[in-house]
Each structure stands twice: as structure tokens, then as C-alpha cells.
């Protein structure tokens, strides 16, 4: 009761072990080393053993889906919180990558291990070129354009009846076995996750963040903003296209549903829930959201309502996300002190 009468505030202090392990002294003892390594190891080992502990084929499929959404969420987080471009075009990347992989496989007979990297690179080129004209724009415009492209491509494919029209491209080759199917995408998620984490602390990452925070200052330093935005969009869209190419080989089919809004919305929800601007958070968010949405499959379209509401609640009440919250708990003491 007294807490209500007097004003209190929460005081936060870094744990001693966090302060020690911030510097080179971390190498002095196993305790500090394990404090640093443990969260990363949990993530890596956890993801690597996931396919082994999944009870059925069905849940292994779910893990593959989770990884695709994780890649998309990672790409959204990177673009939105490190470059300042809000992209609602996850479906655009997925569809582009998917169709390119499907065509390379069915028309030219290339094996999946070749089509996926090719689709990643060419898809990213394609997306970047299409998005290039609107890169100098600020604000909501990039978001709207990226939202419109997948819708436009859907209608164009429908109207012109190209690329298989409404039926899609059938008969795409699948992976050799299911272990390969699982580990290809898991390794890719880990690779991109740690790659992007490394990228944003390099010099180029510094420029990216500067573009986000103050583009005029970047321009005043004689650096082309559009050039760096182009690079960032290329990186982000390559992640999306990789996911799309993988998806095509997973389901042995490429169709208009690859431009569906799910691929644009779910990654954003995952990012918000996991913790925006942390890069690991979105992956975590995907691992929470996608299985939930699988469990809710019985409810039909009600599950979309559920995750729209979850997203809303997180945006309004807990905009920091799960990861930032747990990071704080991991690194800091909290206690109430009287004001």
C-alpha cells in the first residue's frame, strides 16, 4: 500500500559481471566468458537441434516456415531500424525470389542448390532496381510503394497470364532429403543473423545508421545517401529472395499466394514482439509467432485477428519487445527507490 502513497521510481544498475565482461577482462575467467557466450550458444545450439527434437514431419515443416519468416523479419528490422526504410514488401521479396527459383528449376533444370543462390542474387537485383526510383523518398512513401508492388505483380501476372497465371509454376524439384531441407535454411538464418549483426557495427553500418538518424549530415559529408540505401535494400531483399527460393523448393510450387500479405505483416509483427532494432529479437519473434499461428490454425481467419491484436498490444504497451526486456533483466538489477 505504501508504494501507492509515495512516489517511487525504478532504479537500474548494471550487474558487476556485465561491467567486467564488457572489456578485455572478460577473457580472465570462465565465469565472465560463459556469461558472454551463453545467450549466443543457446541460440545457435537451440536452432541446430530443433529439427532433431521435432516430433513429426508436420512440425519440421513449421520450423522451415519459421526460418523463412525469421529471414524476412531480419530483413525488415535491418531496413527499418538501421537504415530507416520501412519496408512492407516482404511478400514482394518472397514472390520475386520464388518465381525466379521456380523458373530456373523448371525451365533450365538447375538443381535446388544452384537455383537458390542464383535466385537470391538475381531476385535481389530485380527488387533493388524496381525500388531504386523511390529510394530518395522519406517517410511513409517507401512503405506504401513496397506494399503496392506485390499487389501490382499479382494483378499483372493474373491479367497477362504469364508465369503460369493463376495456377502458378508446378513441378519444382524438392530437396534431396529432409535433413538437408531443414539445415539449409537454419544455417542460412544463423549466417545472415550474425552477418548482419557484424555488418551494422562496421564502418558501412555506421553510415547506414547515420542515414537513418540524419541524412542531411551524411550528405554534407559528401556521401551519397541513395548509394548506401541501394546497398542496404540489396542486402535486405537478398534475404527475402532467399526465403522465397527456399519456399518454392519446399512446397515444389510457385504461385500467386507467394505475394500474399502474410509475408509482409507477420515479419513486422515478429519484429515488434521480439524487439525492434536488435536483429536477434525478430528471429525470436518469428519463433514465437509462427508456431502460435500454426496452433491457431483450427480457428480459421480468427488467427489473423489474434495476431493483429497481439501486434497492436505490443505496439502500444510494450513497444520495446521481448528481447530488450529480457536483455535488461539479464544485464541489470532493478529495484524500487523512493523519489
Amino acid at each position: 500500500m505504501t508504494k501507492n502513497l509515495e512516489k517511487h521510481r525504478k532504479e537500474r544498475l548494471d550487474r558487476g559481471i556485465k561491467v567486467r565482461s564488457d572489456s578485455l577482462y572478460a577473457l580472465m575467467s570462465w565465469r565472465e566468458l560463459s556469461y558472454l557466450v551463453l545467450p549466443r550458444l543457446v541460440l545457435i545450439v537451440g536452432m541446430l537441434i530443433l529439427p532433431l527434437v521435432m516430433p513429426s514431419m508436420y512440425w519440421q515443416r513449421v520450423i522451415s516456415n519459421v526460418c523463412i519468416y525469421a529471414l524476412l523479419a531480419l530483413s525488415f528490422d535491418f531496413l527499418a531500424h538501421f537504415v530507416g526504410l520501412v519496408s512492407l514488401g516482404g511478400a514482394f521479396f518472397i514472390g520475386t525470389g520464388g518465381y525466379i527459383a521456380a523458373i530456373l528449376n523448371t525451365s533450365f533444370g538447375l538443381p535446388p542448390l544452384l537455383t537458390i543462390p542464383l535466385a537470391t542474387v538475381f531476385g535481389a537485383f530485380f527488387c533493388t532496381i524496381l525500388l531504386l526510383p523511390c529510394l530518395p523518398l522519406r517517410g511513409v512513401y517507401f512503405a506504401i510503394v513496397t506494399l503496392m508492388y506485390p499487389l501490382l505483380l499479382t494483378r499483372v501476372i493474373e491479367a497477362l497470364d504469364i508465369l503460369g497465371g493463376t495456377d502458378g509454376v508446378l513441378g519444382v524439384e524438392s530437396f534431396l532429403n529432409r535433413w538437408m531441407e531443414q539445415y539449409v535454411i537454419i544455417m542460412m538464418v544463423l549466417l545472415f543473423l550474425f552477418g548482419v549483426r557484424r555488418l551494422v557495427i562496421k564502418d558501412i553500418g555506421l553510415v547506414f545508421r547515420a542515414v537513418k538518424d540524419n541524412d542531411q549530415a551524411v550528405r554534407a559529408s559528401g556521401i551519397s545517401i541513395t548509394y548506401y540505401k541501394t546497398i542496404a535494400v540489396f542486402i535486405a531483399s537478398s534475404m527475402g529472395c532467399l526465403g522465397g527460393a527456399y519456399l518454392v523448393h519446399l512446397y515444389m510450387w510457385a504461385g500467386l499466394s507467394m505475394f500474399a500479405l502474410d509475408f509482409s505483416i507477420l515479419p513486422i509483427a515478429a519484429t515488434v514482439i521480439g524487439g525492434s532494432g536488435t536483429l536477434v529479437g525478430p528471429v525470436l519473434g518469428a519463433f514465437i509467432l509462427v508456431p502460435i499461428s500454426e496452433l491457431l490454425r483450427a480457428f480459421g481467419t480468427l488467427r489473423i485477428v489474434f495476431y493483429a491484436l497481439i501486434l497492436l498490444a505490443f505496439i502500444i504497451f510494450r513497444s520495446e519487445g521481448i528481447l530488450v526486456y529480457s536483455q535488461r533483466k539479464y544485464h541489470q538489477f532493478e529495484k524500487w527507490v523512493k523519489v
Binding site: I265, G300, I315
Partner: protein, 288 residues
């Protein structure tokens, strides 16, 4: 002649779709991605009042408009006001609301061919040899009236002037004693009512379907972007441009391309002249 008549009707319909969106964006710089959902909701409210409660058509229309206005105001007051100014969160929050409403309706069984509103006046007439039904003529008439009334409202009433003041310069408006939050709520309410009005006028021409929500949203965005976000007159002119372009493509290319026109218009405008045809005042802010 046919192109002229149906182009006009289509254009007025587009203008009705987008006025609410333009109003909300103009006043509070909030891209209201729940606009399409409000449109559909008002259709279903009217249907429920009319068929389940058995009210008079005119009464249920008025009640539905008021109800939609209140829903819009509540959405703003309790949700969107908290994320105001954060562009990403604004888009995502309003989109999430729209998605929740639309998919909730779909789950609630509001789908299929069974939901139709009756036309205000049955029957049709001929203008210069082209058959046009009365409802479509009514759409044009009321649409023109709405645009005119809106102009009078924003130029001669206190609330209207306050809204316009907010749209031009929020800080100056606040210094002159205009409650900016209250006005934003009012704008959202009026915007939702305009969406409801559009729904009630246009839904008798077809079925009430949930998918319409997404299409209306896209069309409203297309019109507002081509006309310049935040410019009301621009929105009306852009509605005519896109409206005629759509009818022309339908006549010469096929119905498939109708949506392509709107989407292409958005993308081309953003690429060539991002501030739209009439959004000149903000040109400097938008390009880096």
C-alpha cells in the same frame, strides 16, 4: 458517351472512397490504414440495423454513419493517439486494427452473396442512349453535394476552420487555442463518417464483401497519393483522373487491368512527383 458517363460515376465513387482518408491524413498526418475496414463495417452495420432490427432504411443509414464515426473516433482516442508521430507504428497499428476488423467480420460469417443493401430508388433511365440506373445517378449527385458541403464546412464553420488550421500548421493552430488532440479525434470521426457515407451510397450497387475493404483502401491511397497527400481538392481531381483511366482500360484492355491502373498510378506518382499533383507545400520535406 458510355465512357463519359460511367467514367464520371466511377470517378465520383473514387472521390467518395478517398475523401475520408484524405481528411484524416490532412489533419493529423496519419495514414489511416483502417479506412477500408471502416467502410465495410458501416455496410454491415446498416445491413444489421435494416434486416435484423427491422428499422427504417433512412434511420438505419443515419445510425450506421454515426456509429462508424464513433468507432473511428474511439480507435483514434484509445489506440492511435498513443503512437502519434511514430510513422512505422502509426501504419502498423492502424493496419492491425483494419486487419482485425476485416478478418473478424470474415470469421463472424459475414461473407458470401447474402449481404446486399437495397437501392434507394429502383429502376433505371437512359441518358443519351446509355442505360444508367438511378442509384448511380444518385451517387454522382450526392457525391457532388458532399464535396460542396465539405468545402463549405471547412471554410465557414468553426470546427471546419480549426481542422484546416491543423492541416496547415499544427503548432500555430495550437497557439491559437485549438485543441489539437480533440480536433484529430474529430477528424478521424468525420473521416470515418465519410467512409460510411461512401459505403452506404456504393454498396447497393453490389454485394457487401470483406475483400472490398482491401480494395477500397488501395483505391483511397491511390487517389490521395496522385492528388498529393493531404490536399483535398487534389484528391477530387485525382479521383477523376484515375476514374476515367480505369474505365478507359476496362473498355479497351479488359476488366483485369482495373486494379493495375490504380497500383501503377501510385508507383508512378511516387517515382516521378512524390508530393502528388497538388501537394506542393511539402515538396522540400519529402525528397532527401
Amino acid at each position: 458517351m458510355q465512357i463519359l458517363i460511367y467514367g464520371t460515376i466511377n470517378s465520383v465513387a473514387l472521390a467518395l472512397y478517398s475523401l475520408g482518408f484524405a481528411m484524416v491524413y490532412g489533419v493529423s498526418r496519419l495514414p489511416n490504414f483502417a479506412h477500408g475496414a471502416l467502410y465495410v463495417v458501416s455496410g454491415f452495420i446498416t445491413w444489421t440495423l435494416l434486416n435484423s432490427l427491422g428499422l427504417n432504411y433512412a434511420v438505419s443509414i443515419i445510425l450506421a454513419m454515426i456509429a462508424t464515426g464513433i468507432i473511428g473516433a474511439l480507435i483514434y482516442q484509445f489506440v492511435l493517439i498513443r503512437v502519434r508521430g511514430m510513422e512505422i507504428s502509426e501504419i502498423m497499428a492502424s493496419y492491425a486494427i483494419g486487419l482485425a476488423i476485416l478478418e473478424g467480420l470474415r470469421w463472424g460469417g459475414f461473407k458470401g452473396m447474402t449481404y446486399t443493401l437495397p437501392a434507394f430508388i429502383e429502376g433505371s433511365t437512359e441518358i443519351a442512349g446509355v442505360p444508367v440506373d438511378y442509384q448511380r445517378l444518385l451517387v454522382v449527385g450526392i457525391g457532388a453535394a458532399v464535396v460542396a458541403l465539405l468545402w463549405l464546412f471547412t471554410h465557414y464553420t468553426r470546427i471546419g476552420l480549426a481542422l484546416r488550421g491543423m492541416a496547415q500548421d499544427e503548432r500555430a493552430a495550437m497557439m491559437l487555442g485549438i485543441d489539437s488532440d480533440l480536433m484529430a479525434v474529430a477528424a478521424m470521426g468525420f473521416g470515418s463518417m465519410l467512409a460510411a457515407l461512401a459505403a452506404i451510397l456504393l454498396l447497393p450497387l453490389g454485394n457487401i464483401v470483406v475483400e472490398a475493404g482491401y480494395n477500397v483502401l488501395i483505391l483511397a491511397i491511390a487517389v490521395c497519393i496522385v492528388g498529393g497527400l493531404g490536399s483535398w481538392m487534389g484528391a477530387v481531381i485525382a479521383a477523376f483522373l484515375i476514374g476515367f483511366a480505369q474505365i478507359l482500360t476496362v473498355v479497351y484492355l479488359g476488366a483485369h487491368y482495373q486494379m493495375v491502373v490504380a497500383l501503377l498510378a501510385i508507383i508512378l506518382t511516387l517515382i516521378l512527383k512524390p508530393s502528388g499533383l497538388f501537394g506542393r507545400q511539402k515538396e522540400l520535406e519529402e525528397r532527401v
